[in-house]
Symmetry: C2
Subunit: 580 residues, 2 copies
Amino acid sequence: MEKEELRKLIRVAHGDQKADTVLKNVNVVNVFTDEIYKADIAFSDTWIAGIGSYEGEKVIDGTGKYALPGFIDSHIHIESSYLSPEELGRLLVPHGASTILADPHEIVNVCGIKGLNYMMRAAKNTKLDIKFMLPSCVPATPFEHSGAVIDVSKMEEPIQRENVLGLAEFMNYPGIISASDDSLDKLMVAKKAGKLVDGHAPALSGKDLESYCAARINGDHESTTLKEMQEKLRLGLYALVREGSACHDLRTLAKGINATNERRCLLCSDDRQPKTILELGHIDYLLKMLVEEGVPAIYAIRMATLNAAEAFHLTDRGALAPGYRADVVLVDDLVSFKVRQVYLQGELVAEEGKYLPSFKKEPIDDVLDSIHLKDFSKEKFKMHLTSNHVNVITIQPGGVVTKKEDAYIRIKDGEFVFYPNVDLVKMAVVERHQMTGNVANAILKGYGIKRGAIALSIAHDSHNIIVVGVSDDEMEAAVKALEKQNGGMVLVLDGKVIGSLPLPIAGLMSDQSGEWVAERLSKLHDLAWNKLGISRKVEPIMTLCFMSLAVIPEIKLTDEGLFDVTKFSFIPLEIKDEQK
Amino acid sequence: MEKEELRKLIRVAHGDQKADTVLKNVNVVNVFTDEIYKADIAFSDTWIAGIGSYEGEKVIDGTGKYALPGFIDSHIHIESSYLSPEELGRLLVPHGASTILADPHEIVNVCGIKGLNYMMRAAKNTKLDIKFMLPSCVPATPFEHSGAVIDVSKMEEPIQRENVLGLAEFMNYPGIISASDDSLDKLMVAKKAGKLVDGHAPALSGKDLESYCAARINGDHESTTLKEMQEKLRLGLYALVREGSACHDLRTLAKGINATNERRCLLCSDDRQPKTILELGHIDYLLKMLVEEGVPAIYAIRMATLNAAEAFHLTDRGALAPGYRADVVLVDDLVSFKVRQVYLQGELVAEEGKYLPSFKKEPIDDVLDSIHLKDFSKEKFKMHLTSNHVNVITIQPGGVVTKKEDAYIRIKDGEFVFYPNVDLVKMAVVERHQMTGNVANAILKGYGIKRGAIALSIAHDSHNIIVVGVSDDEMEAAVKALEKQNGGMVLVLDGKVIGSLPLPIAGLMSDQSGEWVAERLSKLHDLAWNKLGISRKVEPIMTLCFMSLAVIPEIKLTDEGLFDVTKFSFIPLEIKDEQK
């Protein structure tokens, strides 16, 4: 804020000068005192000047509406929306979002700091205030090839940036618990810069959790039980109650939010797909759910505003009071939380679900060319088996966890032969970053595909290409089509592309609208189920995205081979029966 | 924190290495969750490593005791204790204080930034963590000569210092409300440095308060009614509930602290004299009072710990949890809050009321020579009256407010003649900083002095010399004695010093112990009442200290003359009856 801005702000607050805009006669929800009273909210430039009786150059009648501070999503991966930052902003703002804490973990795994830079530049094109956390664990595991390695030396500059609030979820909790040099060095980078460290501690407990917290992790969004949440709260972690497209923890955790601990509870979506946003909403929907679960509206609202602002040291927002950012959400009531208008920094930016400002999109040249294959052909899908007894990755419907099983398969000339009536299919991971030429193959169970192939360039966390198909030819066609469209999703049938969602931004995000992406995705789902015959028990795309994630049990496939997560080591595809 | 310190901390937390110290089996009060449970608290270096079951190199049995985080006094003037920072630390720590937010307003008025520097150096000699707020209003008024003028240019360096958290109470609220350049410039200095601004807004309300808050003042300690406190809370100010030696607001305000707003409430003493500390205590006593008033113990404790840490962005303290400062107060119970042991940064620093560490005291040479008189003699006390009708300053017992009255006095050769049976006496203010030679005289009513004279070098806020006496000779003797002892307090009878409290540090603080100062002060009070015959209705010293404070109604005396606070202008001593 500059001096003349401050002068005007004070003069407007004092009634010596007309406000730029006045929201007349709204029901102001005061998050400091849990009071609701009728008043005018006066804006001066981008700030709230006063709340009382005010005159303005522009006067908007807000009679009957409730005024809330702009909502804060305390943890989200923009990439999981498949949308660019600008486009996600366009979708979230009409639902009352003023601020999101974004962890660009996926794009940084693909493009390194160049990916972060793109995201930060793009963020400037939206009225949504996107604060960033610097990915702390790139690559997420040493068991696959990613597009970048962000070691301490690469963190030192970006952690200093004004809009980078700290390190993103520190998933390498074993590294902290064991006080490994690498983890300590990363923590020190954040500490020296005076920045925060976000947590990620699924099911961590007891002394493991104590030692993780000793590093002064700020919060955690992985609690799935009340007991887990309460233990984390007790040890000083903010509890980020999560409700995303993939993970649904809110209704469970709502029961643990009470008068004493609510100030330590926040809200986050983690992953939020465009379809979910368009159909259900965002934080507005989470508020509705909390109230449905019996959480007092004021607690719910504070979780989305004041508490988050405090947790992330965003001292300029989180409340409706003089000198705070003029981020105001007008809703019908504190039950439906139906958002009518959204003001960000004093400007009407959304009305009746529509984002109002025009905006440019950041050029994507820097992050466009992300599919780098070497010597790729269907030859790479050959398994050269000597045994027909193999380890199998078995999908567990509804989750990202797999089961390690084994099966006898039919082989011909050392190669797996697909039978539509047997639920076993070939899956491959094709390295796409470093041109290693790596392709690893495995047998997948539970996916149910009957025809064609599907290929994706989204494969957590390194985002190599995952391809599943009934023949090497179909699989090759899918990968080649994916390469041609700069990544995304491709469905092939009889050697031809029958559906695709190009994700040219790092192979992760679309340059198109949220509505378009949502529609395309629905179409792909239909094609996957109806044309390829993929099991209706699985979400055909998201399920595959997690088949490389070598930190989630029990067995995964990376570009380096089949990985047994329980043993934390690679295992062969074949089981040599004679060795038993 | 350095890397190896962090490594050890994590290892200790994880149980891989013994803690340095373990407080065994204490009742841990968890300020995050409002739970109390039996556990061990493990220290690693200066940090809490874990709370659970731990082994340590040193093990202390804490059975039956309640463990609380170190207490934070959110606003205090060290100078008002008449003690050096080291000595105040020695007195406060045994009462559980870990941190105080000090506003060195008085010494900076006398010595400028040199005074701040002395305070900050001295602060290093005590285990009490003294954080400073940079005085924002020096001089407090333009109606008197102070020892320094701290304009914006002088603020730019000190506001950057690590232990300076922001600007101290911004008393010039008219300056903010009117958006004066001087005030805006000061606010901008703090904003640009990313520092806080403390408030001081007695009885401010409505649009005045809105505009003051628009400047994003952090908190305020001047509320005296529930209505005032609630209005301030509503507008985003932290409510610093005050209970000092002079001002007693806690019992009144306690009634307004509830489940919703408690997180925005803090505790402060503002002014705390050694006698009060020695006899009643400090924050421990305030906690006891709050609980007596029906405030739940957890709210009271949070006001003294977590809430204050949050308000001042002291992210390393305010709770008992892994990675937090090892500041632990062991008390008998949550009713008496009787403090038994105090650990600061993992070290036992106080036990059974006794401060344990040995300490050096900062040399006071820089702030010693603070009484600078020019051409001073009793001639300066001459009034050269032409009328026997004069304006009179009438003391209002129990407060710092005075009443403007007038009186007919006896004069001889143009000079006031004192009569013991008439409660009117001469008061003078002698400029002591800039060698202006200024001496201003007035007539005081309600003080009741019968014999001798009393002189002080404490006179808010510029701290010139205030002297009251029955004759010019006695007054001269008192001032000269005061000059000789480098300031403080002097009582003279028949031309001889009968009692004194030297305050060589800027004429404001003693270099002696708290016990010695408390005893001396009691003795001075006795002498003042018994030997000089000062009215028992007034506190003979503190009353005089406020007779120069030209911002408190109705009439005061500065070195520049008699000041009518209601008119905000100087007025003549004499009233010329013939002009009526």
